[in-house]
């Protein structure tokens, strides 16, 4: 049951996107999200949808999984789209009571829906093709300049790594404890909201107890290996940019040029 949560689920593979440097992937993901929010006409939007489709296909991850991550936010997408439908200005196309739909409203709805879906899909490509450790590693390196400002970048990255590392462990533990309580007749699938919340107590208390125990054990193990924070620490896996990364960076810049050209040459519709 808890296994259905596609939370940063890494999908191992050997595609071009899998082999890219995680730092570059992170930057490109942010860039593409910016593009999709900057673009203001259908030409640019269409271009970015094509880019997204191409990326999903080259990632080698079953398209089914992407649909699953979209399904999770389908409600939010539809809700904001419908809300935006009624908030356009200009000539009404259709009117009923206080509800008016204008051409602008329809465009708004389409843009909002595509933007949210794009945001989720881009981040899914990143999390499906990058292992959590690579991802936090990339983040640590990209944020390195902040350590000049006394931001504890290494500590933050370490906390993220540990948190991500323990997500599957905690899920497994939750499954185990839930199974044990179900075996004693705990009923977690029926009843009202209050009853369901109450039914979680027998799961949450053992989970808390074991999490604290794990945290103590981990802290002890880290101290035993003389861990003392980021100062003077070297990396086992040093990241290198390759030709492949250069190509991907060029593709990202080319996409930026196309987006700018679309915005310059075609009229704003949103």
């Amino acid at each position: 049951m808890t296994r259905d949560i596609a939370l940063g689920q890494y999908f191992p593979g050997k595609s071009v996107i899998h082999r890219l440097d995680p730092r570059l992937k992170l930057i490109l993901t942010v860039a593409f999200i910016v593009y999709i929010f900057v673009v203001h006409n259908f030409w640019g939007l269409g271009f970015l949808i094509l880019c997204t489709a191409a990326m999903l296909l080259t990632s080698g991850v079953p398209v089914r999984l992407y649909f699953k991550s979209i399904k999770g936010i389908l409600f939010i997408v539809l809700f904001t789209a419908v809300l935006n439908l009624f908030y356009g200005s200009g000539e009404p196309l259709w009117q009923w009571g206080f509800l008016t739909i204008t051409q602008q409203g329809i465009f708004n709805a389409i843009f909002i829906a595509v933007r949210i879906a794009g945001l989720v899909l881009f981040s899914s490509v990143l999390t499906f093709t990058t292992s959590p450790t690579d991802l936090t590693d990339a983040m640590e390196r990209l944020l390195k300049p902040l350590s000049k400002l006394h931001v504890k970048v290494h500590e933050i990255a370490m906390m993220m790594t540990i948190a991500l590392r323990f997500v599957p462990t905690l899920l497994e533990e939750t499954d185990k404890i839930m199974a044990a309580q179900k075996a004693r007749g705990a009923d977690m699938e029926s009843g009202g909201l209050m009853q369901r919340i109450k039914a979680l107590v027998p799961v949450l208390i053992p989970l808390f107890v074991s999490s604290f125990r794990r945290a103590y054990d981990l802290a002890m193990a880290m101290e035993c290996r003389c861990y003392h924070g980021g100062e003077g620490r070297t990396k086992m896996k040093v990241l290198h940019l390759t030709r492949l990364d250069a190509g991907a960076a060029l593709a990202g810049i080319a996409a930026l040029v196309v987006v700018i050209l679309c915005n310059v040459f075609f009229a704003r519709v949103f």
């Binding site: 404890i177 199974a179 075996a183 007749g185 027998p202 053992p206």
Partner: protein, 288 residues
């Protein structure tokens, strides 16, 4: 007569259609009669845990049937809880499931979920605590104050208190010291003897299985490798070692003696071995 618990070609596949697809149990058909004491052995990953969780409806088989008293337990998925009260399951490291304020309340959790009257719940909980040898003064303490062995026994009592027809124990003695292990095993055997209920006992310790079980189910690579009386199974040391399992040490020693031409039989426990070997000594071992 219909067996108490029966599986018909049950198969369980985890994460189908992904790179992580795993066939954990592959068309297993077994019959378990009332009053059986069955030891379940097999390598890590052989499918034992999945199989036993299908027996009480915690995992729904991908295909095949699990029959309890001749009826498919998934006939009505809404009634699956009733099956879990009849087939009680004690997981590995069951002390991780304790959560109540007092030990007694924790043991009462199962019977309370059955919707029994209050006096009956408390009577059952105290009975169960007595069965596993928890002294009365511990029952009002917090479960988190108990020692490892006591926690283990409290958790097992929580399942016994539901008075299931079949009790499944997954590695109940793992991580206990030898004394705790002895106490636990003897309370399980006395539970089986006095209540006459069916017990399934999963273990990595061949010595423990030889000591308590009447029949042994050997799982290997998602299949049933052997299912017979304890003597039958442990007399096939060669076949067991092929799948990476061993027979109890005393059985090994006795089979070597047998191969050397001594008149001894397949033996499972130290006591039996002594009874066979003493008469072979000069003067029947009287001078020892």
């Amino acid at each position: 007569m219909t067996p108490l618990l029966e599986t018909k070609n049950v198969t369980c596949v985890y994460s189908p259609h992904t790179p992580f697809e795993k066939r954990a149990v592959d068309s297993v058909s077994i019959k378990i009669e009332k009053g059986d004491f069955i030891g379940v052995i097999g390598h890590t990953g052989s499918g034992k845990s999945t199989l036993i969780q299908m027996l009480n409806g915690l995992i729904r088989p991908t295909s095949g049937q699990v029959l309890l008293n001749g009826r498919d337990i998934w006939e009505n998925p809404k009634k699956i809880r009733a099956v879990r009260f009849k087939v009680g399951m004690v997981f590995q490291y069951p002390e991780d499931q304790l959560f109540e304020e007092t030990v007694l309340k924790d043991i009462m959790f199962g019977p309370r979920n059955m919707g029994l009257p209050d006096e009956e719940i408390e009577r059952r909980a105290r009975d169960a605590a007595h069965f596993v040898g928890l002294p009365d003064e511990l029952l009002e303490r917090s479960p988190f104050e108990l020692s490892g062995g006591e926690k283990r026994r409290a958790a097992i009592a929580g399942v016994i208190a539901m008075d299931p027809d079949v009790l499944i124990l997954d590695e109940p003695a793992a991580g206990l010291d030898p004394a705790g292990r002895d106490v636990l095993l003897s309370s399980i055997t006395s539970y089986h003897r006095t209540r006459g209920n069916t017990v399934l006992f999963v273990s990595h310790s061949m010595e423990d299985v030889a000591r308590v079980a009447d029949r042994v189910l050997v799982m290997n690579d998602a299949h049933v490798e052997m299912f017979g009386t304890t003597k039958e199974v442990f007399s096939q040391a060669g076949r067991l070692s092929q799948i990476g399992l061993q027979v109890p040490q005393i059985t090994q020693i006795m089979s070597i003696l047998k191969d050397e031409g001594y008149p001894v039989e397949t033996t499972l426990t130290l006591e039996e071995a002594v009874a066979q070997l003493l008469p072979l000594l000069p003067k029947g071992g009287d001078d020892l």
